[in-house]
Amino acid sequence: MRAARAHRRRHYRGSVPGRRPNKRRDCAAGRFNIQRDYFGVNAEPPIIDDRNFETRFHVPRNVFRSIYLAFKDEPLFQQRINATGPLQAHPLQKFEAAFRFISYGDAADLLEEYVRLSLSTVAQATRILLELILRRWESTYPCSPKQSGMKKMMERSAERGFLGCMCSLDRTHWERHQCPTGMAGAYQSRKGSRGAVVEVVCDEDLWTWKPIFGAPGSLNDNNVLNQSPLYLDVTAGRWPPRGVTFTVNGSTRTLH
């Protein structure tokens, strides 16, 4: 990935003779505003309290904090010093920008006013943040439930009256605006636009696992299921865990 980033860096050449000078964005003001509004400065409480924090960022404060602490020292996010001396953007600004981008779907240049970062920095911060989250937590967060968890889930669905039910599975389509014309036929989704199929499994309180993305939109649900890792796991005997039984109307079955 690093090689790919180095290759791409040619696009952002930075301050070299012949290019337009940087805007006077006043990064420090952006950082000060964010700290005053959400975290408090000079021993004063923040203007925006916890409840509004969650409505603003669409994640609870502790989740934001854990992500911030995990990645604030990554090369893109740490605060750097410009060649001419002044400090550049604080990690907080980039996190704020990335989170607004993720949770509001804001245009990247809209954030220039409050966060005081350039369009390209916002886009880059978002992209890198998503990559980092994926790399750090991919193995822990969307993992499929093991035996004990599976038993608990079956108990819960039995309480709701549906014996032997583990979870719900469904698919939806994500639109792909920038689909190459050559692949438009394969990605033609059912609503008339280009799209790809998203498959996910979730339980009662919306804990998701096995998120799968990437089947072309022209496939129907049956075809997507046949090629999804979930189905391959079931047929190859990797999942669900063995030894989970349920009894319906007198006859006992095993999940596997």
Partner: protein, 195 residues
């Protein structure tokens, strides 16, 4: 088309259970608007990254909110109340499975092969065998690249399992059993919701 009252009741309950995942799509799109216009990114790789990262973020939020959920409290209250006859075995077995699961997690990948090998040969015959299997199989950790790994019992077992997933008679029978169960357990409760 469901004709009888039993079938209609079953259908109604299935709809109610299925709504979880339909809700998920709505909640996730509202929460992370990037899911509304993901196509801003050109490459498929970038889209996949976005999707998975959004799922992870969503799970983190769920985990931090979880204690406030009604379902969890209801589940906890129910298990403390006591269970039906014949489920005493379930307690210790579950505890053992949980304990071995934790142990596995600490050990990392080293234990995986042994545990999987111990688990495979017994294809879950009766309930007793299933329980013994449960303790010995010791919850192998999730495979990171599951698709790349060959099935443990060879391709024959995979084809058998594939056939099993398309077993019509079994499907019909399970559905009939479930319909009967739902009718006897929830028929009255759901009567007013069935059109």
């Amino acid at each position: 088309m469901s004709t009888t009252d039993e079938k209609k009741t079953f259908n109604r309950l299935q709809e109610a259970i299925r709504k979880d995942v339909e809700r998920l799509f709505g909640v996730r799109t509202k929460q992370f608007h990037i899911a509304l216009h993901p196509g801003r990114y050109c490459s498929m790789k970038q889209l996949i990254t976005t999707y998975k990262a959004v799922c992870i973020l969503h799970n983190m939020c769920v985990e931090s909110d979880r204690d406030g959920f009604l379902s969890r409290r209801r589940g906890a209250g129910r298990t403390n109340e006591g269970r039906g006859p014949g489920s005493e075995l379930e307690g210790p077995a579950g505890a053992a499975a949980a304990a071995t699961g934790g142990h596995d997690g600490n050990d990392g990948g080293a234990d995986d092969g042994g545990a999987a090998a111990a688990g495979r040969p017994a294809p879950g015959g009766g309930a007793a065998a299933g329980l013994a299997d449960a303790v010995s199989a010791a919850n192998p950790p999730p495979a990171l690249n599951a698709v790349g790994q060959p099935p443990a019992g060879g391709m024959i077992s995979a084809f058998d399992a594939w056939g099993e997933t398309r077993n019509h008679t079994e499907h019909e029978q399970l559905r009939a059993n479930l319909t009967a169960h739902v009718w006897s357990a929830r028929g009255e409760l759901l009567a007013s919701y069935v059109v």
